[in-house]
């Protein structure tokens, strides 16, 4: 009898904790959306005015038309993220396969290098990179950003895909070899077709990382190649802030990526956590 009670209490406690966690996590995000739909007057009232009349789509309209910087930023972010992802996959997948299968000497060392590149803040390379980029004329260019983003997305792509390739039973590649396929043919016709899920997950991941990146965008861009994170930060730096618009801009910046992440959460989590835990 007491055990039943304890069990019920435990269940209740768990349910309550889960609810608490849900509120804690959801609340700020909810506020982001809600305040983006509210007028400045309603938001600056003390306390904020939640009556029906306070809600409007004006913020989004304003942000999209008046603040052209956001549209420009979205375009830049899109181009940079897509290009980075595409190249990272094209270059990274074969590299990952080579490290997984082709018994290279010093593969251990290379892997160490790849892992190490993930482990430090951008400032470590920012100065020399900035100097080189200015000499080559890549400051404030999308190409410059792509190149830099590649450098830290590639290691992740290689790491995750290598983990996956290691898990493919070697029998398949042996059968292909016996059938007369070269290593390249084996990769293209056998390994790649069965690897779509992790490749896809890695692509989403690289896209998200590129889209959200702020530090290098801050340092390496001025006007032309500004990406969305930069535009958002500028919004927040103004004195006369229309809070609703700031939130609307943030919402628009965040929406595509959150959308992608939610849809592909399973593959992302699988690829990432396996890569981080299994090595």
């Amino acid at each position: 009898m007491a055990r039943r009670r304890r069990q019920q209490f435990a269940n209740w406690a768990i349910g309550f904790s889960l609810a608490l966690f849900t509120v804690w996590t959801l609340a700020p995000i909810l506020w982001l959306v809600v305040s983006s739909l509210m007028e400045q007057q309603a938001l600056t009232a003390t306390p904020p005015d939640f009556s029906a009349g306070s809600f409007t789509l004006q913020n989004y309209a304003e942000v999209m038309t008046a603040a052209a910087a956001l549209g420009h930023g979205l375009l830049n972010s899109l181009i940079v993220a897509v290009a980075t992802t595409a190249v990272a996959l094209a270059v990274g997948a074969p590299a990952a396969y080579a490290l997984a299968r082709l018994q290279l000497p010093g593969a251990g060392l290379i892997l160490l290098l790849i892992l190490a590149t993930q482990m430090f803040p951008g400032i470590v390379v920012a100065i020399p990179l900035f100097i080189v980029m200015s000499r080559v004329g890549l400051i404030d260019s999308r190409l410059g950003l792509i190149v830099v983003y590649l450098s830290f997305n590639l290691p992740i792509v290689i790491w995750i895909l290598r983990g996956f390739f290691l898990g493919i039973p070697t029998g398949l590649e042996r059968a292909a070899s016996v059938d007369g396929a070269s290593i390249f043919q084996t990769f293209r016709l056998i390994v790649l077709p069965i690897s779509w899920p992790p490749i896809f997950a890695t692509a989403i991941f690289a896209f998200i990382e590129s889209w959200n990146e702020f530090f290098f965008a801050l340092i390496l861009t001025r006007q032309n190649a500004q990406t969305v994170p930069l535009v958002i930060s500028q919004f927040a730096g103004q004195y006369q802030t229309v809070f609703g618009q700031m939130m609307a801009a943030a919402a628009m910046a965040v929406a595509p990526v959150v959308f992608l992440a939610v849809i592909f959460r399973r593959s992302i989590m699988q690829g990432f956590s396996e890569g981080m835990i299994k090595g």
Binding site: R174, A175, A176, S177, D179
Partner: protein
């Protein structure tokens, strides 16, 4: 059809020697099995023959030509893998035809060949299916079909039946044997199942820790094993081995194990007496339960249908006897057994080599 020769083939992974000085001469059109427990090097040897592993030292020749540095395709070998290794994203037809596609054969020609093979292997209704939609036996046949379509000079099989259930396994053995008879292609088969090896092979290479202990016909392996290892590996249930010593006397010469004496011709006992410490090997099927002979008590009776395996406790220890049919013996019953001298095998205790048995079999 190819003649395959291994000369002094050795394989080392770092410091670890997996295969040591393997030399085999396989005749054109022969069906040879590499037999041994897991880890004995048989699969590695097969992979080296296939060209999927490099040879550390030694030569592999096919039809007299050294093939060490040739790709599997260039060696004209085809292989059936243990886990079938079917391409999961391709249909049965595509799986079988993959190798032809790589050779840029025209599609019509590929289709023709694939259909022909499918018919032989009774796979025609499955041609459009994906591997995961097939049963184990069907997948196995697709794997065989993929090998056959190559029309290679040598077939290699890497424990292809280990993932099948017992009944299917036995059936596949006859199918393989029929196929071999039909196609007549040199075949090299790897398995750890000694019954399988004996039933389908022309010759068997029994391997132990990277070496070939004996390479001979099933009969040679079974009746005249060259060592204790081979004798123990072949035959189920396992051969019984007991230490003992030769007894030489006017009447009643033989080999004494424990308190019991197995009678032998005096000449044989004399020969045995000159050798070092020996072990006597008796196969269960050679233990004859009768009125006369050594005393024993029945410990356990295990009827399996066509025979029963009876564990006998006798002064020398525990012995397994193979009795015909479903035996009526009960535990605790007192019985007698004897063994014909010709069936006894003697092994040198130290080296494990089989020594001369009886004068009636001069070649041992």
């Amino acid at each position: 059809m190819a003649k395959v020769e291994l000369m002094g083939v050795t394989k080392r992974f770092g410091a670890h020697e997996v295969c040591a000085n393997i030399s085999l001469a396989i005749v054109d059109g022969e069906f040879v099995t590499l037999l041994g427990p897991p880890g004995c090097g048989k699969t590695t040897t097969l992979n080296m023959i296939a060209g999927l592993e490099d040879v550390t030292s030694g030569e592999i020749r096919m039809d007299g030509k050294i093939v060490n540095d040739l790709t599997p395709f260039e060696r004209d070998v085809a292989m059936v893998f243990q886990n079938y290794a079917l391409y999961p994203h391709m249909t049965v037809a595509e799986n079988i035809g993959f190798t032809l596609r790589l050779r840029h054969m025209p599609r019509a020609e590929i289709a023709k060949r694939v259909e022909a093979i499918a018919e032989v292997l009774e796979l025609t209704p499955s041609l459009g299916r994906l591997p995961f939609q097939l049963s184990g036996g069907q997948q196995q046949r697709v794997a065989i079909g993929r090998a056959m379509v190559r029309e290679p000079k040598t077939f290699l099989f890497d424990e292809p039946f280990s993932n099948l259930d017992a009944a299917l396994r036995v059936r596949m053995r006859s199918e393989i044997k029929l196929l071999h008879r039909r196609l007549g292609v040199t075949s090299i088969f790897v398995t750890h199942d000694q019954e399988e090896a004996l039933s389908i092979s022309d010759r068997v290479a029994v391997m132990n820790r990277g070496r070939v202990e004996q390479f001979g016909t099933p009969e040679e392996i079974y009746v005249r094993p060259v060592s204790r290892y081979v004798a123990r590996f072949i035959g189920s249930p396992q051969i019984d081995l007991q230490e003992g010593e030769a007894v030489i006397a006017e009447h009643g010469s033989g080999f004494r194990v424990g308190g019991a004496l197995f009678s032998l011709p005096r000449a044989t006992a004399e020969i045995l007496g000159h050798l070092g410490p020996l072990e006597l090997g008796i196969r269960p099927e050679h233990v004859v339960l009768s009125e006369r002979g050594v005393d024993a008590i029945v410990e356990i009776v295990q009827p399996v249908g066509p025979a029963s395996f009876v564990a006998l406790r006798w002064p020398g220890g525990l012995l397994t006897a193979r009795a015909p049919g479903m035996s009526r013996l009960k535990a605790g019953e007192a019985v007698h057994f004897f063994v014909e001298p010709e069936q006894m095998m003697f092994f040198d205790k130290a080296s494990g080599r089989r020594v001369l048995a009886s004068p009636s079999r001069p070649e041992g």
